[in-house]
């Protein structure tokens, strides 16, 4: 494979996740509305929202600092990078040595750190409320996610996604209790981290319940567009991650040919759509939780992750 083609495909990967992200969010909203008996906005509505926000001027609080101004760009860049590092249609790309699961968790943590600080910059009570709750949720979700990674990594002896894919595709893994627990745990973490129901409601502006929205309450215009795009990318990140780790079928591992790429792309799109629909069904069938119930929810995810690790040993025992 020539270097030019490799770089091109890497750029395609970056562009792909960015272009698909609003569509995934639009699809999730549409499906949820239909399940709730409403018609819902068009699937392309998020593109229109982003375009509208980009056209508007940015209104900033008088005492906003430089951190508040650069935060949206940093958050967007970190999440775009993290999402693009998760393989979608092929695993061997120039940047794929960076696709280490723990490093990806680190990138997400950096983005969250910057955004939580930006929420506190203006010094309003809502900003602090949002940041405080976001960090509480994250401090429970992140270890749960790391435990899922432990479960995977102890089984396949690697934290690099391309190697995990090679392992899973290379031999019949079969159904394993640990993997089932890991999928459930990772899904719970994903729901919490992307601010979906039952943890947070992306459609609400009700003081007592909002988390993410409270944190970014002061943002407007292009800054808000970037943060919105970043949250859409985060949803793609989790869907894509679950797809590539637990269901990597169809992905291109060797030198790409056109047919292989086409199949891989189609498979990825199908997996993302399936994941989005499952998410919508889940969201439509559950009620929003109180903030302090989140600890129990994520504590459950943490324990499932730990159980997954322990079952791994039990099943390996001679």
């Amino acid at each position: 494979m020539s270097a030019v083609l490799a770089v091109l495909l890497q750029l395609v990967q970056f562009a792909l996740v960015l272009l698909v992200a609003p569509l995934v969010t639009g699809l999730a909203r549409k499906a949820r509305s239909r399940l709730l008996g409403r018609r819902g906005p068009l699937v392309v509505q998020p593109y229109r929202d982003l375009a509208k926000l980009l056209r508007k001027e940015a209104v900033m609080a008088e005492n906003a600092s430089w951190l508040y101004r650069i935060a949206p760009y940093l958050v967007f860049a970190l999440l775009w990078l993290a999402t693009a590092l998760v393989p979608t249609f092929m695993t061997r790309q120039p940047l794929s040595p960076a696709a280490d699961l723990i490093a990806l968790v680190g990138l997400l943590a950096s983005a969250r750190f910057v955004l939580a600080l930006a929420g506190m910059d203006v010094g309003t009570s809502f900003g602090g409320l949002g940041s405080s709750r976001e960090m509480m949720i994250a401090s429970l979700a992140e270890p749960a996610m790391l435990l899922v990674i432990f479960t995977m990594a102890m089984f396949v002896h690697t934290t690099s996604i391309p190697s995990i894919v090679d392992f899973v595709l290379g031999r019949p893994v079969g159904l394993r209790v640990s993997f089932a627990l890991a999928v459930i745990s990772l899904t719970m973490v994903g729901i919490a981290e992307t601010g979906r129901i039952p943890i947070d409601n992306p459609a609400t502006h009700l003081e007592l319940t909002m988390v993410h929205e409270a944190m970014i309450l002061e943002y407007s215009g292009r800054h808000l567009a970037l943060i919105e795009a970043a949250s859409m990318l985060k949803l793609v990140f989790y869907l894509s991650l679950i797809a590539v780790v637990f269901a990597p079928w169809g992905i291109v591992r060797a030198d790409p040919d056109l047919a292989g790429l086409g199949i891989a792309l189609g498979a990825w799109v199908a997996k993302i759509i399936a994941g989005t629909l499952v998410l919508s069904v889940f969201e439509a069938s559950i009620a929003k939780m109180r903030v302090f119930r989140v600890a129990e929810f994520l504590g459950g995810a943490f324990l499932l992750g730990l159980l997954g690790t322990i079952f791994l040993y039990v099943s390996q025992a001679p």
Binding site: N63, A64, Y73, A109, L117, T124, M135, L147, F150, M154
Partner: protein, 680 residues
């Protein structure tokens, strides 16, 4: 190179002697500022020499240890000194921190309440810390160790009129004495019946069996109490903040590392074949310290106390790494042992950088605003722009975020945890992932803790008039902080620059090469850090850093081309009801509330009481929180009660006649002699 370090120590000791003479105002009216400049610039120069010598040791092709015997100390036992890769690594850590603290002190020292109580002991403290890694016999080691303890104790007491500081000094002294006594007994056991205190003799004839286990337990108690490992940490969040900030930086950033040096030296070098139980103890203590430290940091209000609690967490992470190294070494998994030891020693280096930086920031905040309480700060990013930017780097580094240095050592420790399926002991197979999970929790809580610290102190609106009128600090202080922040980023982006010298240290400590240092020579090695095999895991600090920069710039350029670029300044939105009073912001206590509810009720038995007046009543509403530190109530309070009970009972012994004293001594002599006769 050894001579250069010794020369630096001599310079530091001389400075400690000259400073009080110069600073006595009656003798020389111009002495005070001169002593100030001489001490801090001289200390900086000495640290530069000693650190440079340590660096030169790594750059030199030969890695043979350098030895020296000085005719000092007890007549029949000359002081033995030795510079090997392990001591050179710790000398590097000590002198980097010392250099930064000295340069910082050049500016900060003027703001200290009583500079003349600090000047003589600051270089003496540095000299003591430099001597510990050089010592090659138990006597010199303990002498240097106690010298370091006493010098730092005097520095803790330099503000002795401040309420609470005398108490802090008292607790510190008791704990230092306890730790010293444990080490004394440990070396007594290590030396054996023949009493050979030279480390080479101990290395040649290490104790075995249960005797070795007692020695290890004593060393863990002695060095662990100095490093602040749970449950011997109680003094640390009280004593470290009591000292002036540049000394706190040294105590937290550097002295805890010297304590860890003692642990590594004995456990990995002097003791013979380790048992896996020792590693398991370190793992449990490390996990407890990591979680307990960061949870205490989350609920504290004083900036420096928060940082001191976070030191307990980081010491815990290092202990986890060391425990893993022991456990893997016992089971013959050389590459994993090297990886764990490398991760621990790299975290020692990284934590020294970032904790020194953060304490310098705390000192700058205190200088600028006169307070360290989070609830009285706010909005400093507008008033202290340079300090705020550097503090952001430090906060990101200590929260283990890529692309900073803290992430690399924690990532390597996680990679080591993932090797646990290869262990044959079932206890460890189940236990190590649990320890890893606790460490993951601690890392996530650390990010929350430093969002709280930075968000409350530097962001938002000023909560008091002092923080609204704060001025940024002088160039010396800013320079020291900038240097540390730059190093934090540089090590995170180019870890190989540190990992290659670290390879020599690890090779000498666990007798196995560090895979990350030997893997990937040439250009690829600089791009990707690989703990074991390139296909297993890799992290490219430089790649991630460049990618973030490129993607940010590309994103910004794209947005500025496509979007509306106008910015309008307006009052904050705040859902339509902005309140002009800064008191309506989130406070440090309210920020911590969700986490306090989740973890605090379990660990600290946190009770929140809200006293809301009835409608029509005019008294104010009250809210208070009661926290109980379990370690104090469970461990220390009974121990104190026991000690005072014994003291009361022993009190009559102080009022005996000389006849009775003589007969007591005689009885003791008879008992000891008969014990010796029986044991022979």
């Amino acid at each position: 190179m050894l001579m250069a370090v010794l020369a630096a120590v001599a310079v530091l000791l001389c400075l400690g002697v000259i400073a009080p003479i110069l600073a006595s105002r009656t003798a020389f009216p111009w002495g005070d500022p001169l002593a100030h400049d001489l001490v801090y610039l001289g200390s900086a120069a000495a640290c530069l020499i000693a650190g440079g010598a340590a660096l030169a040791y790594f750059l030199a092709a030969t890695s043979a240890p350098l030895e020296l015997s000085l005719p000092l100390g007890i007549p029949w036992m000359p002081a033995q000194l030795r510079l090997d890769a392990l001591s050179a690594w710790f000398l590097l850590v000590i002198n980097l921190g010392g250099l930064a603290a000295s340069i910082y002190g050049k500016g900060y020292g003027r703001h200290v309440d009583e500079p003349r109580r600090v000047l003589p002991f600051f270089p003496a403290f540095l000299a003591g810390m430099n001597l510990v890694p050089l010592a090659d016999d138990a006597f010199t080691f303990l002498l240097a160790w106690e010298f370091m303890s006493v010098a730092s104790w005097l520095l803790v007491l330099s503000n002795h009129r401040q309420p609470g500081n005398a108490h802090a000094g008292m607790i510190y002294l008791v704990m230092a004495a306890f730790g010293g006594a444990c080490l004394l007994l440990a070396f007594g056991i290590l030396a054996g019946v023949n009493g050979t205190y030279h480390f080479a003799d101990i290395r040649a004839h290490p104790p075995a069996g249960w005797v070795a286990s007692i020695a290890v337990a004593l060393v863990i108690l002695g060095a662990g109490s100095k490093a602040g490992a749970v449950p011997l940490h109680a003094w640390l969040p009280i004593a470290h903040p009591a000292a002036p900030s540049h000394v706190s930086a040294l105590m937290s950033g550097v002295m805890t590392k010297v304590a860890l040096y003692g642990l590594v030296r004995v456990l990995f070098d002097l003791m013979g074949d380790p048992a896996w139980g020792w590693g398991a103890v370190l793992l449990v203590v490390g996990a407890a310290s990591a979680l307990y430290g960061i949870l205490s940091a989350l609920i504290e209000d004083d900036l420096k106390t928060i940082l001191a609690c976070s030191t307990i967490e980081n010491v815990g992470i290092v202990l986890i790494g060391l425990g893993l190294a022991l456990v893997f070494r016992v089971n013959g998994l050389a590459a994993l042992a090297a990886l764990s030891a490398g991760a621990a020693l790299l975290h020692v280096f990284n934590h020294a950088l970032m904790k020194t930086l953060m304490f310098c920031v705390a000192g700058a905040v205190q200088t600028a605003t006169g307070t360290r309480s989070l609830e009285r700060l706010g909005g400093l990013i507008h008033r202290l722009p340079v300090t705020a930017a550097l503090a952001l780097a430090g906060a990101a580094a200590i929260s283990a975020l890529p692309p900073f240095n803290g992430f690399i050592s924690e990532w390597l420790t996680f990679q080591a945890v993932l090797g646990s399926p290869l262990l044959p002991q079932w206890t460890l197979r189940f236990g190590v992932p649990v320890v890893g999970a606790v460490m993951a929790l601690a890392a996530a809580l650390a990010a929350a803790c430093f969002v709280r610290v930075y968000g409350i102190a530097f962001l938002g609106r000023p909560r008091t008039a002092e923080s609204a009128a704060a001025e940024d600090v002088d160039p010396w202080m800013r320079g020291a902080m900038a240097g540390l922040a730059a190093l934090c980023l540089a090590v995170g982006v180019l870890p190989r620059a540190v990992v290659v010298p670290l390879g020599h240290v690890v090779a000498s400590v666990v007798k196995a090469p560090l895979p990350s240092a030997t893997n990937g020579n040439g250009f690829a090695g600089w791009l990707w850090l690989t703990p074991l095999e390139p296909s297993q895991s890799s992290y490219g600090g430089l790649v991630v850093f460049l990618a973030v920069v490129v993607v940010t710039v590309a994103g910004a350029a794209g947005v500025h081309r496509l979007a509306n670029n106008r910015v309008r300044r307006a009052p904050p939105w705040d859902c339509g009801f902005p309140d002009p009073q800064p008191a309506t912001q989130y406070t440090g206590s309210s920020f911590a509330q969700p986490l306090r509810r989740v973890f605090g009720t379990l660990v600290f038995r946190a009770v929140e009481r809200v006293d809301m007046p009835e409608p029509g009543e005019t008294r104010p509403a009250r809210f208070d929180i009661r926290l109980v530190d379990p370690v104090w109530t469970v461990l220390y309070a009974p121990l104190l009660a026991c000690v005072s009970w014994v003291a009361d009972r022993a009190n009559p012994l102080q009022f005996l006649t000389i006849r009775r004293y003589l007969s007591l001594m005689f009885a003791a002599l008879v008992i000891l002699l008969s014990a010796v006769a029986l044991s022979r």
